[in-house]
Symmetry: C2
Subunit: 570 residues, 2 copies
């Protein structure tokens, strides 16, 4: 039974040190969220598939981990795709072909009346007792109708070979001369049926899977808000720190299970929230001693406005995708790409001031004003950015810098106002360590209209890597065992445990080496675990009610009373 | 697109108050774990199926949530179970039947040489180009061998109808006289193939699912220990607080997603660990103010010893299952059940002292000594229990009681020494709120022998219900927003945010109402969220650099400087 154990690709084990470091980041973020008035919620790890599917685009749907239905899902599936499909066909064949009916005239007559044909299928099904029982719920009207639609849509191809026989008027499968026709027809229709199944994969997947692992925290949050709308007092400020799962190809820094740390406000369009989120980023990264992060901000309205001005409103996505590459490929290549996407030379010319944007937030705002003076939406975007910038200038940031970046287009399909992205300090090679924005219709997908939301997210794994690289984790982050009592035997162990009990009540992490092993082995254990203090209790100590403490770093030894011991270790 | 949102049955959303209360329990347990020297690890939410399957019995396997492989898993599955299975059969039929070979003599000749037949299958497969391509990796030797084994095992039935034709020596499918034979044979073998698939469901499930959600924390921990054995310093004391998932039927207090809080030590057989776990339970429940819990203890060696003494060593499970019901069904019914399971009258007579066991731990130990004086294993069990009890008596418990319960058999298949279970105080109707025990071969399933482990678990959901019922959650557990600043407009909001920034730096949870809504609406918002303080900042306050604080409970108002404000709220 021995197996070489491993874990699925893209997942991780965390050892005590890693857990402690991750918790240090979580706790810092959580503490800041709470001082800003955000309250925690938690949602289930898996949601109904219908809650998640179709919310992240086709690529997202593909990357959602689906959970197999429990119970006899597989049996049902097998019944559906093997025996029962065969039976359905055989019933059809038996009735209409082997039963010596005229298949062609049947189609000529019935084709126009699909309802009747579906009913005929249904009748066939109803009277076929072998189709009944377990799993038969999948052969409902919808299934049969769907099959019929495919069958009739492709009838020309399916019956192409039959038409060659039309002159004989009757298809006699068991004709002595024509017995291979049956085989041909069967294989042919099987193959069509197979294609139909492949085409309907996603709906058929529901037969074996109705639940899926959370893909992000935003859609479950939207679901939560709609489901609990009567219990929620709006505006609702919630935070959520939970893992999400994505079937992405694993690579450096990208995992199949990872935590998201989100804070969102729903139910208010106030720009003060954008202001507060910038403060929140600043507070968290300052608390983590990660100084020098850049909080980049843009606004979808600016991007729409620019697209409008250059006559490319219908090419907003192409335009922003190209603009987003300015840093990487440079001005000329960006222009080439825009041209190739059908944006006019004249339009691109109008963009020139954009390529020369630089300097302070304020001077960039001034340049944007001249570019966007004909776009109402653009002007609205400028106004919003200016409001936010003025407020932040008044309030001040501790260690972060706010920067206007008109090339920032992150999640454009989603955001309707502000767009945020946080970059690590320039001395670290790392993508964004946080991002967010405003979305005007968060809950619309679940039927609750006009609920505006704005939120930000912290990228835990990347923040971890940055803090590690810069050596910013505090030394005390791992709460190690502080003192190990050496075990010299039963009597000594019991005496030690009485002291250990008192130490623990004083919140000192203390333990007894479980076995009365050789002294050297026990000391080695303390060394390997980097335990700073060791206590030795022998006959003498028991008699004098004292404890010999050895400082494992300095090597010094002390003889202490219990109270002195506690004071020294704390 | 509007959907009425809901969550899967057996799962839960947690609102801010519930999250806070759950965290209160988690933090208490975590704190105690750490003072006892346990260190946290975390493992992935899903493991390879092979890590989990077969570790929890058949029932457990059924309750494990399996995750669908990502990508074109469904297409593969369909190919396997529809077209490809048909092709395999058709190839077989074409070669051996339609090809006019003598099927009976083929079997007579080849049956004895299975290898050859498998090779023939394989050759058939290899030369059938239609079987190649996507998904064909499943038609490997193992698949074909397995199929062959089933086929040959059932050959008599499959070829029953063929034997009737034996006199003609040749089966000619397309004989003019016999064309229905083909159809019959095809359907017949299809049906057998289907049965074979159903029988092999679990191995076939791997085609569509290779990962599964964690079912408990113990097996992943065992996997962790084996996988990371070279990095771990033994004895290894780890704790783990993570969710697990089970496809159990949901009912009151039983969920499909729930947290486990486990602490285990591996790599030492020292009984001091049992002693410490009893202390740990006492410390945690005392810290939660849940006084009066009973920590029940038993030892598998006691149960084995009793079974040995009454001559029912081979009926250990039946015996303990019956004994476990003593509380519920009483002495007479227990004896009846034992009789019905084949335990002798004489044996049951020897049990009489067991039914009269009562009184202190020590007096029960004495009675057990007389019952078990002929069983070496039983005597070892008594010795262990006595050691633990003596140590606990010396060390003392704060609020819990240690009780010997020889009927306790929890997880008997698993535990080899001590067995623990914690009952809530008698005034609460609730099952066990914790349990654990010693298992001598935790990591053997993964090929690492002789690693003894002992551990305990806390039942979060039940502890939550008990604390709720007894009103034991501290009032301060929910860290609510402490102060809301009323928003009177842009200038006032900015002034307020400057103060809010200072409050937050002092760790006060403070927020600004985001919109300059009507005063009444804002005050209502504070009331509904039970925010204790509201600050009003108008023209006058700005000019005088003061803040008007309203205590929402007493209704009193104060005019404060910023420093006074901070002092008053803190």
């Amino acid at each position: 039974m021995a197996q070489k154990p491993s874990i699925p690709k893209g997942t991780r084990d965390f050892n005590p040190e890693q857990v402690a470091k991750r918790n240090y980041i979580f706790n810092t973020i959580r503490g800041a969220f709470e001082t800003f008035g955000f309250q925690p919620i938690e949602t289930p790890s898996f949601e109904n598939s219908s809650t998640l599917m179709g919310k992240y685009g086709d690529e997202g749907d593909r990357l959602i981990f689906k959970i197999l239905n429990s119970g006899d899902y597989l049996e049902k599936f097998i019944q559906l795709f093997t025996l029962r499909s065969n039976f359905l066909f055989e019933s059809f064949i038996n009735e209409y072909i082997i039963g010596e009916k005229d298949i062609i005239s049947f189609y000529d007559a019935e084709m126009a009346e699909s309802v009747l044909l579906v009913e005929n299928f249904k009748k066939l099904y109803d009277k076929n007792s072998e189709l009944k029982g377990k799993g038969s719920e999948y052969f409902d009207d919808k299934f049969i109708t769907s099959f019929y639609v495919y069958f009739t849509t492709n009838k020309d191809e399916i019956f192409n070979f039959l038409s060659k026989k039309k002159e004989t008027s009757k298809i006699r499968i068991y004709d002595n001369e024509d017995s291979t026709d049956f085989n041909f027809f069967y294989t042919h229709t099987c193959s069509f049926f197979y294609q139909w199944i492949v085409m309907n994969q996603s709906s058929l997947a529901n037969i074996i899977s109705e639940k899926a692992l959370r893909y992000d925290l935003t859609v479950p949050f939207a679901r939560y808000v709609v489901q609990h709308q009567n219990e929620i007092e709006f505006p609702f400020k919630r935070y959520q720190i939970q893992p999400v799962w994505r079937a992405d190809r694993p690579q450096k820094g990208r995992f199949r299970e990872f935590y998201q740390c989100d804070a969102d406000v729903v139910g208010s369009k106030s720009l003060w929230q954008e202001v507060e989120f910038i403060q929140l980023y600043d507070i968290v990264f300052s608390a983590l001693k990660l100084e020098g992060v850049t909080i980049k901000i843009n606004n979808r309205k600016i991007l729409s406005g620019i697209a409008e001005v250059i006559g490319a409103s219908d090419k907003l996505i192409d335009f922003t995708v190209a603009l987003d590459k300015l840093d990487k490929i440079g001005e000329e290549k960006v222009k080439e790409e825009m041209l190739s996407k059908g944006i006019s030379e004249a339009g691109i010319e109008k963009l020139q001031p954009l390529f020369n944007l630089s300097g302070s937030f304020e001077s960039q705002i001034e340049s944007l004003k001249s570019i966007l003076n004909t776009s109402e939406e653009g002007k609205k975007g400028i106004e919003e950015l200016a409001f936010i910038n003025t407020a932040i200038s008044e309030l001040g940031l501790s260690t972060a810098t706010l920067q206007l970046d008109v090339t920032l287009a992150r999640g454009l399909n989603y955001y309707t106002g502000a767009i945020f992205e946080v970059s690590a300090p320039k001395n670290v090679q790392m993508g964004s360590i946080g991002g967010g924005g405003r979305y005007d219709d968060l809950t619309g997908i679940f039927g609750m209209k006009d609920v505006s939301g704005v939120g930000i997210s912290f990228g835990l794994d990347r923040i971890y890597l940055v803090l590690e690289e810069l050596g910013l984790f505090p030394e005390t982050v791992t709460k190690n065992v502080e003192v190990l009592f050496i075990n010299f035997g039963e009597k000594e162990a019991l005496f030690s445990l009485k002291a250990i009990k008192e130490l623990r009540l004083k919140d000192i992490n203390a333990e007894l080496y479980p076995d009365a092993a050789k002294m050297k082995k026990q000391m080695n254990h303390a060394n390997k675990r980097a335990i700073p203090f060791v206590v030795l209790v022998g006959e003498e100590e028991i008699n004098s009610h004292t404890y010999t403490l050895k400082d494992m770093v300095s090597g010094k030894q002390f003889k202490f009373s219990l109270q002195e011991l506690i004071t020294h270790i704390k």
